[in-house]
Amino acid sequence: MIFLTRRATFSAAHYYWNHAWTPEQNAQVFGKCANRNGHGHNYTLEVTVAGEPDPVTGFVVDLKWLKDVIEREVLEAWDHRHLNLETEEFRQTVPTTENIAIAAWNRLEKAINAAGGAKLSRVRVYETPEIFAEYRGPHEQVDVRGVKYRGEL
């Protein structure tokens, strides 16, 4: 099994806000990310697919094809957009890096796996070079306990 990764970048605005909470709760949990005027990032998206090299081409997947899939499925919807205001998946869901990784997986999985070759294995989203989140797919959803968040401490 070979794991092949393609990187892409996109720039988007967002804010963190849970509509079920008071402004004070949002400020307490999310800090400056709760500023309703929004802020933005240059995101780096890493898409990893797993498969065997094709005996004829030696490719796990054609990198140009993978690039086009990422652009069509993800970048067209998110690049230079406001995630909370302009994308379906974040109208109610907080666009944290974790949720962006999960949403990117959901946008990519069908298109990649339908091609019949490699399978989507991992999506990693860097919000900055120092902050990233990763999602390895729903098959990994076993008995994992939640972790307390700041508001509960």
Binding site: Y16, N18, A20, W21, V29, F30, G31, T93, V94, P95, T96, T97, E98, N99, A101, I102, R124, P129, E130, I131, F132, A133, E134, Y135, R136, P138, E140, Q141, V142, V144, R145, G146, V147, K148, Y149, R150, G151, L153
Partner: protein
């Protein structure tokens, strides 16, 4: 929904690779210029990966502020701008980056909520790094 959250920190420290149980020649042969008597230093990058359920209210595996506070308390305050060989935790151990990586993992595991730490990766230079995922 399980996902992972990662954070990267910089710390600068000095060390010397030297094993008292070996002769001077053996140390020199084993560690080369890393055995230099006065030590040397690196800008280490420490990558911390935590895993867990994405909380439905916050959208987070863990709040970055809490990861930062654990990393600062358990690792950065202790080792940044320090000589690793002089820290008691390295008594009887050579502070290679492999050992440093395991030391950081064990300290962080206790500072973070139970079971949340997935891996620690320590990059000694741009071209070499070490990763530990627990015993």
């Amino acid at each position: 929904m399980k996902a992972y959250f990662g954070r990267r920190y910089l710390l600068s420290a000095s060390h010397r690779l030297h094993n008292d149980a070996l002769s001077a020649d053996e140390n020199s042969a084993t560690y080369g210029k890393c055995n230099n008597a006065h030590g040397h230093g690196h800008n280490y990058t420490v990558e911390v990966l935590v895993g867990g359920q994405v909380n439905v209210e916050t959208g987070m595996v863990m709040n970055l502020v809490d990861v930062d506070s654990a990393a600062r308390r358990a690792v950065l305050d202790r080792f940044d701008h320090a000589n690793l060989n002089l820290d008691p935790i390295f008594a009887g151990q050579v502070p290679t980056t492999e050992v440093f990586c395991k030391v950081i993992f064990d300290l962080l595991k206790d500072a973070l909520p139970g079971g949340s730490l997935e891996h620690v990766r320590v990059e000694e230079t741009e071209n070499n790094f070490f990763e530990y995922r627990g015993a």
